[in-house]
Subunit: 144 residues, 2 copies
């Protein structure tokens, strides 16, 4: 399990480093060919090529130079076949939407599904949820 | 792969039926013991017991009688070890937040990670993203 955690850390660290250096070539070397992605507003991209093309468009539009910061790898669950599911909390700087409106800085919880690839892991799926701060006081599991 | 799809359909159909009949006992028979869940506002519940307790609180507060409708199982990816990742689009009726504010009806994309359990599948992870309708025209993969 510790071996799995360190493999997840490797992928997450490389993902954040690739994001922060606008290096999408490096980012998409971390993805499996049939990877899917659901972004924070619910767009669903199917296959690494589509995920990569969409990310390139959004980097050109709004994400270049916008810093991601890893807060915590909150959970890593080991599944059969060497598959892992991780939930990663991160912070993103404010950015500008394509229409010029500011997207404020905020926290996100990204689910990553990872599959073995030799001694490493590749991203087979991502789903990114924005943490709505003003709703968190309603979390029943934080009140107990 | 068709066998896998029909197993995913079984779980999704049972999940929606359990939701629509407020039958959380049936719903959580669909979950693996170490399942995690990230809800639509970014709450992260760890372990089936926590996911179930949190769902029971929200059913009491706001979800009882609020209908879910399956729109489409948009993708099913087969991973090693018999693991599957599915993206499911569904529609939820409007509901009332605990403070009385209306949560409007809308569409969601739920990622489910499923693990084999005998001849069936169990939910090992869920991550639910609200589809922001007014952002969808920016989806680069819909414009091509």
């Amino acid at each position: 399990m510790n071996g799995l955690l360190s493999k997840v850390e490797e992928v997450v660290t490389a993902y954040i480093a690739a994001w922060n250096s606008d290096n999408l070539d490096a980012m998409f070397r971390l993805f499996a060919p049939d990877a899917h992605w659901v972004n924070v507003v619910g767009m669903h991209w199917r296959g690494r090529e589509a995920v990569e093309r969409a990310h390139r468009v959004f980097f050109d539009l709004m994400f270049k130079g916008v810093d991601l910061r890893l807060e915590e790898i909150e959970s890593v669950i080991a599944l059969p076949g060497g598959v892992a599911v991780a939930v990663v909390r991160f912070h993103m700087e404010s950015s500008y939407l394509p229409d010029g409106v500011v997207r404020p800085a905020g926290f996100y919880r990204l689910t990553l599904v990872l599959v073995p690839d030799g001694q490493s892991l590749l991203i087979a799926h991502g789903s990114n949820v924005g943490i709505v701060e003003e709703a968190q006081h309603l979390d029943p599991m934080l009140r107990r």
